[in-house]
């Protein structure tokens, strides 16, 4: 076998491992081994790349710049591994966003470097489709980079999670969209580096402006979409670099990412165009004045502790607030105390509880909550009417009955029917609305009692109240 055949064979093995890995990741039993298969394939692909020839066509020489290459890799690993090891589980969505963004950035940089190479006047003029591939890499990669950066900033709450809107926003976005298409056409006709830099700048702004109007609750769907974009940018680089591995891996991620995005949209009952263009929850100040006069029932952990000790069935409905308060361990203690008294406890998990699908399962599993107590929404809802007390901890939008009525921004979103339980205990930090930024009628329901305060503190008090009751 020739040198280049061996390299290509290794890339083929890596590409197959990525397919196997994705298949594994879609199955609860094999997910972990799927991730290891992908790691092995990646290690192989990176390892053999060091043996690529300098001159691709003649197949001679060795890669240059190995010193900066290795330094950049060591630096990347030295920053990436500790960051991803040490960050709290609650901040996972931000991390996924940032690692997706840097991937998009790398794809964009690769395409920019290729463009500079192609537009070298000493070289023959490249075919139009080659330039197009490069430009698509620049555009998609950059949008993914700047979009992910804004998603990160939103999730980290460095800026408001609410949609950021201004008059004429759609028009501005449409103009920028057309501008990037026009730029691509212009560069195809007349490939100059100056125009490419303009395209880079426009793409960067497009990424920012498209993400700004998207509300915090929808950001996970957006990250999934941007993840798919990065995959496509990588595939575009594969075309440019004549590399089948990049095409296969990038396309796999691009296609499966689009499908995954579609699935995530379904689980919150909304369509993708609706999420991208509707500035969800922005015009919700209308009802704010009315709420101030409305009264809610309040109670103390001691009283609720007594109440809980004399019921038969309790459903716990956890949400992101639980994770923020780091109260997943305390809620388990409460469940243990209740079970010791012979009370049946289960957790009703909304598909998007937490900030990403499956996020809450991960957080509760971390607190050693038995797997069989985690009941998915569709199985939990038929049981809600037999539940004596529903404890809503840090959730809000996922139990908001407004989803059942027409005309609400969350209309059609599937919810957990907490209001069917005998009583509802709401753990709230304040009367502030949830991520979607809309009022929750359930708070004013006569069945509902509120426990104000930090979820963890309140729960700790509640645990001892139940123990003493």
């Amino acid at each position: 076998m020739s040198h280049s055949t061996m390299l290509n064979a290794a890339y083929l093995v890596a590409a197959l491992s990525f397919i196997m890995a994705l298949k594994g990741l879609a199955n609860p039993k094999r997910a972990r081994s799927g991730n290891f298969i992908a790691m092995a394939g990646m290690a192989l692909a990176i390892g053999v790349t060091f043996f690529q020839p300098f001159d691709e066509h003649a197949g001679t020489g060795h890669l240059h710049n190995l010193i900066p290459m290795v330094i950049a890799m060591v630096l990347g690993a030295a920053i990436g591994i500790p960051t991803s090891r040490l960050v709290k589980m609650t901040a996972m969505p931000q991390l996924v966003a940032i690692f997706n963004g840097v991937g998009g950035g790398a794809a964009a940089l690769v395409s920019i470097a290729e463009f500079i190479k192609l537009s070298d006047p000493s070289q023959p003029k490249p075919a139009t489709y080659v330039v197009l591939e490069v430009l698509l890499g620049v555009l998609i990669g950059t949008v993914s980079f700047s979009g992910s950066a804004i998603a990160f900033i939103k999730l980290q709450e460095l800026i408001t999670g609410r949609p950021i809107t201004y008059p004429g926003q759609q028009i501005v976005n449409a103009i920028l969209g057309f501008a990037s298409i026009a730029l691509i056409v212009a560069i195809l006709v007349h490939p100059t580096t100056a125009l490419m830099w303009v395209l880079l700048a426009v793409s960067f702004v497009v990424g920012i402006l498209v993400v700004l109007p998207i509300g915090g609750a929808d950001v996970p769907v957006l990250i999934s979409l941007l993840n798919s974009f990065t995959g496509l940018a990588v595939a575009a680089s594969g075309f440019t670099l004549n590399n089948n591995l990049l095409i296969v891996a990038g396309t796999l991620v691009g296609a499966s990412g689009l499908l995954l995005t579609q699935m995530m949209c379904k689980s919150i009952g909304r369509s993708l165009p609706n999420i991208l263009f509707s500035a969800f929850g922005s015009a919700q100040t209308l009802t704010a004045g009315a709420t101030e006069q409305r009264t809610v029932k309040q109670s103390t952990p001691e009283d609720i502790g007594v109440l809980l000790s004399y019921v038969q069935r309790v459903a716990i409905i956890p949400g992101y607030g639980l994770a923020v308060a780091q109260a997943q361990h305390t809620i388990r203690e409460l469940a243990d105390e209740l079970e010791a008294k012979g009370i049946e406890v289960f957790y009703a998990i909304h598909p998007v509880a937490g900030r990403m699908p499956g996020h809450m399962n991960v957080l509760l599993a971390e607190a050693n909550v038995p797997y069989e107590q985690l009941i998915e929404m569709d199985d939990a809802n038929p049981r809600m009417s037999q539940v004596d007390v529903a404890l809503v901890v840090g959730a809000n939008d996922t139990v908001n009955p407004a989803a059942r009525t027409q005309g609400s921004p969350i209309s059609g979103m599937p919810i957990i029917n907490a209001d069917e339980a005998g009583q509802v205990i709401f753990f709230k930090r304040s009367m502030r609305p949830g991520f979607a930024g809309i009022d929750n009628e359930l708070l004013f329901n006569e069945k509902t009692t509120l426990l104000f305060g930090d979820a963890k503190e309140t729960l700790t008090k509640l645990v001892s109240a139940v123990a003493n009751a």
Partner: protein, 112 residues
């Protein structure tokens, strides 16, 4: 394998074939993913597109100086972050799924 002298039209068609097949494979392999695995799957595929590291290495290794070296080095750095971060985060997420007795796959869609 592919010689530079071969017709580039054949090349682009070959690559388009690979692309088209990959689209279908990508959709097919994850079609039945349960919702609890959406996040780990997203994170795992996030790590896989870190394969742009291979492209970044090729660009850096084949550039002969100036701006291209700067761009290539930056690309290798960012792509490495993508790879190591992506896999580590996915591994941490999946850590919580291991060795759970009765870890039955939760198929909510089918129930309807």
């Amino acid at each position: 394998m592919l010689l530079a002298t071969s017709s580039t039209n054949v090349d682009i068609l070959q690559y388009l074939t690979v692309f088209a097949l990959s689209v279908f494979i990508g959709i097919e392999v994850i079609a039945t993913v349960p919702s609890i695995l959406h996040t780990p799957l997203m994170s795992g595929s996030n790590a896989i597109h870190g394969v742009i590291l291979v492209g970044s290495m090729l660009v850096l290794g084949r550039s002969s100086g100036g701006l291209e070296v700067v761009l290539g080095t930056a690309a290798v750095f960012l792509a490495t972050l993508n790879v190591v971060g992506g896999f580590t985060v996915t591994d941490r997420m999946l850590d919580f799924f291991k060795a759970k007795p009765a870890a039955k796959p939760v198929e909510t869609e089918v129930a309807k």
